[in-house]
Each structure stands twice: as C-alpha cells, then as structure tokens.
Symmetry: C2
Subunit: 444 residues, 2 copies
C-alpha cells in the first residue's frame, strides 16, 4: 500500500437513518425530517469524524409505504445543504441533481452559488432520473435510456461550460480604477445540443476549488460509464461483495482511461450501512428493536436466497448442519454470499437478517473493529477508494461511528487525522478543474 487514505462520505437520506424504523427510536424526535437543526447536527458529527462529504440521494416522490416508514428523502437537498454550509467548515456536499428534470442553467447556478458560499465544498451527483414516480411529478414519462443519457451529456457539458464562463481572472474589482469586471473574460458559452442549449455566461466567480465536483451514481451500464468516464470525479455505487466491487471499480476506471483521463481521478465509492455497538448481539438487538417487523416480513425469503427451505418454527434457531451443507450462494444475487457467511457463523434466520444481509448495501453490525476490518479489507483489495456510510440512526449512529470506528482507521494509518484541506477536491484528492475538461473538448 502507498500512503493513500480511504475517503468517507455520509449518506444523508431523510434525517432518521438507514434503519427502517429509525424514526421510532425513543431518542429520536419523530419530527426530524422537517428539522434543519438536526441536519446541521448530523453534518457536524460527520465533520468531527473528518468525513470528506455528505451525499444526498434524491428520488423526490412519495412512496406507497409511508404509513410506517419515512419520506426517504430530504425536503430539498440544496436548501438544506445551504444551511449546513454556513455551519460547517470542511465537509463537502455531494447533492444529487437531475439532468432530466432540472434546467442546466439553474443547476449550474445553484451548485456554483453553493460552491462559492461554502468556499469550495460543493459537488453535483448528476443522475438522469429513471424513476417513473419522480418523472410524473414533472408531468412527463421516463424517456428511453438513449435519450436520457444524450440529454445528460448535453446537460453536464452546458453546466461545466457555464461554470467556466466567468474566467478565473475576470473579476478585477478595482475601486480606484473603476473597473469591476473585465467583460471580455465573461464569455458566452453558446452551446446548442439536441435537447438542451444555453447562451451564458453565468455570473458567478470561481470558488476556492474552481467549480463543483461532478459525481454520478448507479450501476455500470455502458450509458452511465460513458458519463462517469468523461466527467465524474466520484462514482457512488451499490455492491455487495469485494469481487463485484473490484470488477465494477475496474470498469469505472477503464471508462476514465477511455476518455483520456488518469483513472485515479475518479474515486469509486460503494455504500455501507453501519450499526456500531459494544457487541454484535447488542447491535442485532438494536436492529431488531426498530426494524423487527421488516425483518419478520423478509424471513420467508431468506431460504430462497440460500437455496434451502427454512420452516417458520425455526426462525429463531441456528441453521442445522444439514441446512448449512446444502445452503449455497446464488451467483445471481450478490447478497447471498454475505447471507451464507453470516449463516455459517451460527446465527438464526432472524439474526442473519438483522445483520442487514438483504439491505441496500453491505451492513456491518458490532464493535468498531469489525467496521474497521471491513473497510480495510475492501480498501486494500482495491474494491473501493472510499465508502459512503449510512448509519442506522443518525441521532447517535454518526457519533458512534466517529468515536468507535474512525480512531481505529486512523491508528491503522488508513484514514486522515486532519482534513487534507478545506475544499471537496482536496478532501477527495482530485485535481482542480475549471470549465470543461480540456482533454475532452478535443475528443468531441
């Protein structure tokens, strides 16, 4: 290993946490969703742990199951992050914004304003928005993948061109000479694509990091890889095994190579969910307490994932030796190998599920060492440049991670003890960029 450090981001989903039922914990105010004081508190806790960024996924549509669960989204990512920006100093913001349902000029403007206001800490997670429920809120159907991604290329090119349209030395602000701006250095972009266009310029100066950092998020489809390879400095992923992650990370890095970039310029960041507790048992109990019903509902599916039959009478007994022999991981479901590994440790079906084996991301439950071991193993295997962490319950789960996991990572030399800098680019270790990447412009 070199002295490269792993990067941590925190997923800010909705104010409660990654654990279904987090909102019901007695130490959680059930009104947290509408309480920006809480967003700020959680952001500051992450900043205490030297997290490089907060990541706000965004699927602005109300799902069917809100009776028992939460809105699973911030009220509005940029509005809430603007508040957080003023009350933090180093942590970055990777806010999801749609290339389909937001006007590129507005995206360029709001993200760059946040970047200037936060002194260089903004990032844009550019997604095409493929969820029909979200599209319906904009009165439109989901376009096919070709159209969505053609539009995404145009949107990102327009946004980056607008960001660079106020040239870095344009702002003279010489009071004596009565020259505010050099107008020849605010240049229109005059971009005209198939779906989108903009004249510009955008009237916002550079930030301390030049312009916001572009991320993208998703699976490794050729469409998304061509976005990632050309424009992104970060790739937000969802993978369950080291093997899957290594393969996907290589695809992402190759996409950058194909676009003429150094693959180290794009950071591959898979998700992880965490329950930090003194013992695994206490962690499982915490999870069963708040997500017990969801786990109960998933019990009938565990057998299928492991390729065995599990009788409801035995949900609270370890699998039998016979079951363990015939159980096997399905090559079609990457979560099944985690489920099998946990089963082999002797846990009951209910406890296997309480380990989060069929959650959105790999889940670690237990003391700080277990978390540090997991992150280290993935990181050293080349499966990740860092992780976006969703704690089970923000209200105490961020602090628990910061107090119990971060110091171990630091002691092991895997994680910075101080922020590398005050900008998101510095925290990620990605190069300065202003305007479009000049290596791409030629390739057009």
């Amino acid at each position: 290993m070199t002295d490269k450090k792993l990067i941590l981001g925190m997923g800010l989903i909705d104010g409660y946490g990654g654990l279904h039922g987090a909102w019901r914990a007695p130490h959680v105010d059930p009104g947290t969703y509408a309480d920006v004081d809480a967003t700020v508190r959680h952001a500051r806790a992450a900043e205490r742990g030297k997290f490089a960024f907060l990541f706000t996924p965004d699927f602005p549509a109300v799902r069917a199951d809100v009776e028992h669960s939460t809105i699973s989204n911030l009220m509005d990512p940029l509005i809430q992050l603007a508040a957080v920006a003023r009350e933090t100093t180093n942590i970055g913001f990777v806010a999801t914004g749609s290339t389909t349902f937001q006007e590129p000029f507005n995206t360029a403007r709001q993200f760059k304003a946040l970047d200037v206001m936060s002194h260089g800490r903004a990032g844009w997670n550019a997604v095409t928005t493929s969820d029909p429920a979200v599209a319906a809120n904009y009165g439109r159907p989901v376009a096919d993948r070709d159209e969505r991604y053609q539009r995404a290329h145009e949107a990102i090119q327009i946004v980056q061109a607008l960001w660079g349209s106020w040239q870095q030395d344009a702002w003279i602000k010489d009071q004596q000479a009565n020259r505010f701006i050099d107008p020849s250095k605010l240049r229109p972009v005059n971009l005209q694509g198939e779906y989108l266009a903009s004249r510009g310029p955008l009237g916002i100066p550079p930030s301390e990091q030049g312009q916001p950092v572009v991320f993208t998020a998703g699976g490794p489809s050729p469409h998304l890889l061509s976005i990632a390879g050309r424009y992104a400095s970060g790739f937000i992923a969802e993978v369950w095994t080291i093997e899957q992650a290594c393969a996907q990370r290589e695809l992402v890095r190759n996409a950058a190579r194909d676009a003429g970039r150094d693959p180290d310029e794009i950071k591959y960041i898979p998700g992880i969910m965490t329950t930090v507790a003194p013992t695994v048992r206490e962690g499982l109990d915490r999870r069963l307490k708040y997500a017990g019903e969801v786990i109960e509902a998933r019990l009938p599916h565990l057998g299928a994932i492991l390729g065995i039959q599990i009788h409801p009478d035995r949900y609270d007994e370890p699998l039998t030796p016979e079951q363990l022999v015939s159980a096997h991981a399905s090559p079609r479901d990457p979560r099944s190998s985690n489920a099998l590994a946990v089963a082999r440790q002797g846990w009951s079906p209910r406890d296997i599920l309480a380990h989060g084996v069929i959650d959105f991301h790999p889940t670690v439950v237990g003391p700080g060492e277990l978390h540090a071991d997991h992150l280290q193993e993935w990181f050293e295997a080349g499966a990740a440049d860092g992780f976006w962490v969703t704690p089970d319950i923000y209200e105490d789960g961020v602090d628990a991670f910061v107090d119990e996991v971060v110091p171990i990572l630091q002691k092991r030399g895997l994680y910075p003890t101080e922020y590398p800098g005050t900008t998101l680019r510095a925290n990620l270790g990605v190069p300065h960029q202003y305007g479009p990447d000049p290596r791409l412009t030629g390739a057009e």
Copy 2:
C-alpha cells in the same frame, strides 16, 4: 387613518446597493457579491428595523455594462436566502422565481423547504421572465405574452396544489403506534394543463404559515393583473408619483375583487430608493461621489424631461427664472414631475439628477424626516400598503435607515415597534392559506 401600519421590505439586489458605484465606496468590500456573510449582515440590519421581508429581484443574465457596474443580481436567491433564514428569526423572504424557466415541482419543493426551514417566512415572487437575455440562458426565445401567462397560471396552480397536497393533519408521527403518515392525507394533485403537469404529492409538511406567500411584480397589464388578482398576496411595483400609484393600486385591488377576494388581502408595495444623510447637501455629495459619472452622462437628457434647453456650461447653476417658467412635466414620463419639483427648489441640473429623479424608483435624499414624510404622504394618500426600500449602499445605508427613519415612523404610529409575528403572513397581515384558494377553485 385606522391603526393599519405600513409594511417595509428591503430589495436585495446584489450586495452593494441601489447607487450605481456603491461597490466603489471605500467602506465597501468590492468582493461583497460573493460574500454571503454580507448578505446575512444586511438582512440582520433590516431585521433590526422590523422589515417584513427581503425581496430578491431576479434577472439572471450578465448585462453589457459590467465593466463599471455590478452583476445586479444575487448569485442565487434561494441558496443565499437559505443561509439568511438560519441566521435571522422574523424577517420574511420574497424570492423571485420564474414560472417559465423553473419546473413547478422544483419551485414548489424549494420554496416550501425554505418555508419550513425558516418557520414560515418564505414568499414566492412569481414572474414570467420576459427578458430575452435570461431566456437565452435557457436556450429558448421569449414566448408571447399569452403563452407566458397561460403557463404562469398553470405553474402557480400546480405549485399551490402541491403545497396543499400534504394535508395539514397528515403527519401523525406516532412512534408507539408505528404510524408515520396517514397516507390517505398525502394526495396526488394530478394536474394537467396545456403546458405543464404534475402528479404529486409533494413530500413536505406545512410550515408555521401553512405555505409560502405568493407575490408578483410588474406593471398593471391585464395579463399580470389576472395573476395578481387570483393568487398574489403582494404586488411589487415601480411607480413615480402618488397619482400613478393610487391608480395602479386600485387596478390591483379591483383585480382581487374580480377574483372574488377581499382587496385588503393583496398588499401593493411600490419601490423607493434612499440616501439617509444629516442634510440634503451631504446626501447629494454622497451620491455624486459614487455615481458622478452616471449622473454626468444623464445631464444631456434632463432638459428633454423638463421640456427646456440646458446649456452644458450651466450644469452646476440653478435653472434661471425663465427656464423654471417654461419647464413643465411631461404627461408621458411620470418621473418628470419629480424632476420639476426638485428643480423648483433651486437645485442645479447636476444636483437635480443627484436627487435620483430619473432612477428606477422615487428617491429620497436627506435626513430621516424627509424619508418619513415621503412614506407617510404616500401611505396616507392610499398610494401604497408599504414600500420596498433599496438603500444607496447596503453596508451603511440599511443601518442609517433603521436608525434615522424607522424611529420616526414608529413615533408617528405608522410603523410597528415589534414584529406582528414570526411568519411572513403575520408580518404582512395576510390570511393563512394552504393549497389553492378555495374561492378560486370553484371559479375555474
């Protein structure tokens, strides 16, 4: 007079002030445009003066003359106001947003998030955006007025319906009973217009004032009046004389009557620009110091406004008795009667212009009493329910207004000594509203 009080808003243009050249004043940091600390400082100064709201006009396009003047716009209204919201407690926000170039779902979401975050202090100045330079930033031409205003009706109806789609009693958040939301009380809006559509619901609960207050801004065209009359609680205007204001205010009130509303529910708010100084002479000198060149350039036009010839040799002498006799106000330029009144006080052409007589709004220059007299005269004549004030230089001009003008208005019983409440609706004295106005729905 009843005990009705006048309302004050402050126009937040760009961080410097209404005076051309404000950015060059030695006590002003020329980098203020990108400094949100300054936005917060100016907002707090206005809040000390019990201003009901900050108003952010928005024309996001870089004008041709930026070499010597400023960007004349905030970097981004909502991002900057989100920061201000956290650092103030009572002042409201009337942020301009385009019905043409912003997706209604995004408008609904961002303004309501700001409303919740500020505990009920957000307002939306809904404009159709008729500036071709702005439209070009979105890659489109300006549509004709019929189309723009049809779209505006649809946008405002969709936004207000989305605001009401999370019903006021929908959020149960009962941890014991495991019921977060009553899903039957988050209702889709399913609106389909000619240009715009949305399914909804919007996943944001009510604020302390229900939902943001709708404003509009412009001249009294039938198109705009039909927007104002149906939806607006505030009308931002630009008028130069009491007569013009009285007539325009009556048109606005009649539009509300026509829509079946009580005309007192819409507040008519013309603009005013201010230079507060111990004497008129000192005020004029302050204005000449920073805007001297602009005034110099306008001198050749003053004669035309007054219907007389003024020789360049006499720009610094009072008009002659003969000139004063033949000078007259042009019925086609409402600014000319102010110019004539100032000329008759014996000022030279340069000083007449230094009075701001051909600025964007009526301008008052001099001690606090003069300002208070102007506001009182208009208010008592029924020319305004309040004013949006643009101080000459924010850095000291807001404090000067708050210290020198506000106490006089308070002593005269014209202006509140304490905030009427903590919401924008309370500060304006307009009724609670949630969702569309039920009186209009029937009229559709």
